[in-house]
């Protein structure tokens, strides 16, 4: 165990800082609305204007962003080094500079294309996705296929050089803004349900696609329903082999769990809640001075530190090429539950003002902590609802029998 920053790493930090000072100025910062990491996690807020893209290209060339992605596809192709990655994250955050985009495209589609895509698909999609120029939505869930995703029914029938796609997807994040969708489509209706699915890339401008926003319980509309009526998708626009889409999608789902399991969002909301407790006066007394609030804060901080340090452990096992086992399987459920409990404390600290909506100026922090309270549900349900996570942990992690599956 060695967590110290050696001289080489201190020099690396200085190098990153010098790069940022030279390439991301106060004027650049001023033009950037403060990014919301919670929303960014769901792919809804990404600064991808030409200035940000230009900066990201420079940062990639310098070796700082998308370090695992090969250079020929637009990444920085650097050896895995968790400490350098941590330094880069800290320094970019400090400088408020555009960092890696955390949306579904870079975090989920890109790893899938690198593992299963054709050379042409990688060259066409990876770099613009990393730069935020192509935004993606995920076409997995359907009204009748949620936790039992493999029962999906949206169909693709080969018609000459095109697939003729019909059906419906739902809970599709950012469908209205996305240029492309990666989708699971049933192409082999006679095959067993896991064997008849193909992973398709669909241009959202194709005629026959209709997007209808879905209002969530928090009033926002991150999600949509997407309807396909005789949508023509080029025959070559599939990832992996025809009928092999289920196993291709498994790598993407794993990436989504890793994205949501990342403790960064929980840290952000914890720091906000701690600040809220220090600023908010309830019944003549600062919340931070209340013994119960202090107890809950430190209890949550223990869980947060466990999540963050477990993340370091996973990075270490990854760097060593070891199997992280159960320490990886639990991360998503652990972090999403923690996120909720922190957000709930923020609501309690806000006292009766917790009922005020985001943007209401008389609410503590203008009610902005209400948003993460709601966002929890997206974090908990995205990538597999909590009970699906519990099945995975019980079956794959503890060796308990699989649930009956039909």
């Amino acid at each position: 165990m060695n967590l110290s920053y050696s001289e080489a790493y201190q020099a690396f930090r200085a190098e990153v800082r010098a790069f940022l000072t030279a390439n991301w100025t106060d004027a650049d910062r001023a033009s950037d609305p403060a990014p919301d990491p919670v929303k960014a996690s769901l792919g809804s807020v990404v600064r991808a204007d030409p200035r940000a893209s230009e900066f990201r290209r420079q940062a990639i060339a310098a070796g700082y962003l998308y370090r695992q992605v090969p250079r020929r596809y637009g990444g920085a192709e650097q050896p895995a080094d968790t400490l350098k990655a941590t330094i880069i994250t800290e320094e970019f955050k400090r400088a408020k500079a555009p960092a890696e985009i955390l949306g579904q495209g870079p975090s989920m589609l890109v790893p899938t294309l690198l593992a299963h895509g054709t050379e042409e698909q990688r060259e066409r999609f990876v770099e613009p996705t990393l730069l935020g120029q192509i935004r993606w939505c995920q076409g997995y869930s359907e009204p009748g296929a949620g936790s039992d995703l493999a029962s999906l029914r949206a169909s693709g029938v080969l018609d000459g050089d095109h697939w003729l796609v019909n059906g419906q997807k739902t809970w599709t994040s950012n469908a209205a803004e996305a240029k492309w969708m990666f989708a699971l489509i049933r192409t082999e209706p006679g095959a067993p349900k896991h064997d008849g699915i193909t992973y398709m890339l669909i241009d959202m401008k194709t005629p026959g696609i209709e997007v209808r926003p879905l209002r969530q319980l928090n009033g926002a509309a991150h999600f949509s329903e997407v309807f396909f009526t005789d949508v023509r998708v080029p025959r070559t626009s599939i990832v992996g082999e025809r009928g092999r889409g289920w196993s291709v999608s498994r790598s993407t789902l794993k990436a989504e769990r890793a994205l949501i399991g990342n403790a960064g969002f929980a840290r952000q909301i914890f720091d906000g809640t701690l600040a809220l407790a220090q600023l908010t006066e309830v019944r003549g007394r600062k919340a931070i001075e209340d013994a119960v609030i202090r107890d809950r804060l430190t209890d949550l901080e223990s869980r947060l530190l466990a999540a963050e340090l477990n993340g370091y452990r996973l990075l270490t096992t990854n760097a060593r090429g070891e199997d992280p086992g159960i320490f990886s399987l639990v991360a998503k459920l652990h972090t999403s539950t923690l996120f909720y409990d922190i957000a709930r404390l923020a609501m309690d600290i806000s006292s009766d003002r917790g009922l005020l909506a985001p943007g209401e100026p008389t609410a503590p922090f203008s009610g902005m902590l209400f948003e993460p309270y709601m966002t929890y549900y997206a974090l908990a349900i995205g990538g597999g609802a909590p009970n699906i996570q519990r099945n995975v942990i019980g079956e794959r992690g503890l060796g308990l029998p699989r649930d009956a599956r039909l």
């Binding site: 165990m1 652990h334 992690g397 308990l400």
Partner: protein, 364 residues
Amino acid sequence: MDFGLSSEQTLLSDTVGRWTESECKSTRIRQIVESSDGHDRDLWASLGKIGVPGLLIPEVHGGAGLDVLDLALVAEQFGRGCVPGPFLGHAMATSALIAADHSQACARWLPPAATGEKILAFALGEEIGTWEPAQVGTSFHEGGLHGLKPLVAGAEIADALIVVARDSEGPGLWLVERDAPGLTTTPLSGSDGTRRVAALRFDGTPAQKIASGTSAAERARDLGLVLLAADAFGGAWRCLEMTRDYALTREQFGQTIAHFQGVKHQLADLTTALAPACSLWWYAAHALDQIPEQAPRHAALAKSHLTEIFDDTVRTSIELHGGIGFTFEYDLQLWFRRALFDRAYLGEARYHRERAATLAGWPA
């Protein structure tokens, strides 16, 4: 940067794990629990052979000179195996003695402590729920120690005691030998028969001052918190495995109960709380070794969090076992008692969370 165990540390952990499996079977644990002083001399001697009593002690004094993280890995295995004996108090006392750095006392006591030939105990807490070296009332005046230490782990069988007390200069550490006049040791009946506690009374007891100030005592206290956190993690993991194994064999309604999603999900929830928390005590131990300014707060957070998880794990484990889990014959009760001790000794979770809040500088 590397947040993982070295191959030497994995080997140490495996070695101690194999030792507990072969030397510390539940029949033996039960015999020790039912004995009068809870101390099995052969078991302790066997631990001495693999170097456990002297793990932290510098090589110059006959120990292994290893780190707190190494010792915490031993504590994890001891929690896992429910190992009885004076390990905790001995470790805290040797740590205090090493930190006190009193050459004569170190030369005399560390070599026999390293082999396990002599056992040490650490006397800190006095007032209920208070484990701050700066707040002790036991005092050295008129040539002797005066005061009461109501809850000292391993005190009955200790050959020497490291006592946190004060004199006209303020708090410090004193060394008291077993046969010193004016020392009364009263064994107490505790819930956990694997770690015994006793009350110590000093009535003008002769003692040797080995350190001034509170830093050596605070370090020993923080070490104790980390060892309890590691013990709790090992114990909780063992309960989880016992319950998993039970669920895989116990049949009801024509199938093993592991087939029921309710059972599976409870086990998954326990695992989700427990597994990431391993990193908390790893980090707190590492902080004691390498980042001392962070150690007090992380030790407090690790202790409070892990010992509560141990308690939660024991509770659900007993529930999932049903009636058998509630019997004296079934081994789960050993960890039920172990969890009670881990949770209470050196102060309950709420106390350490408040300490962590204060250490963070949050205005009270």
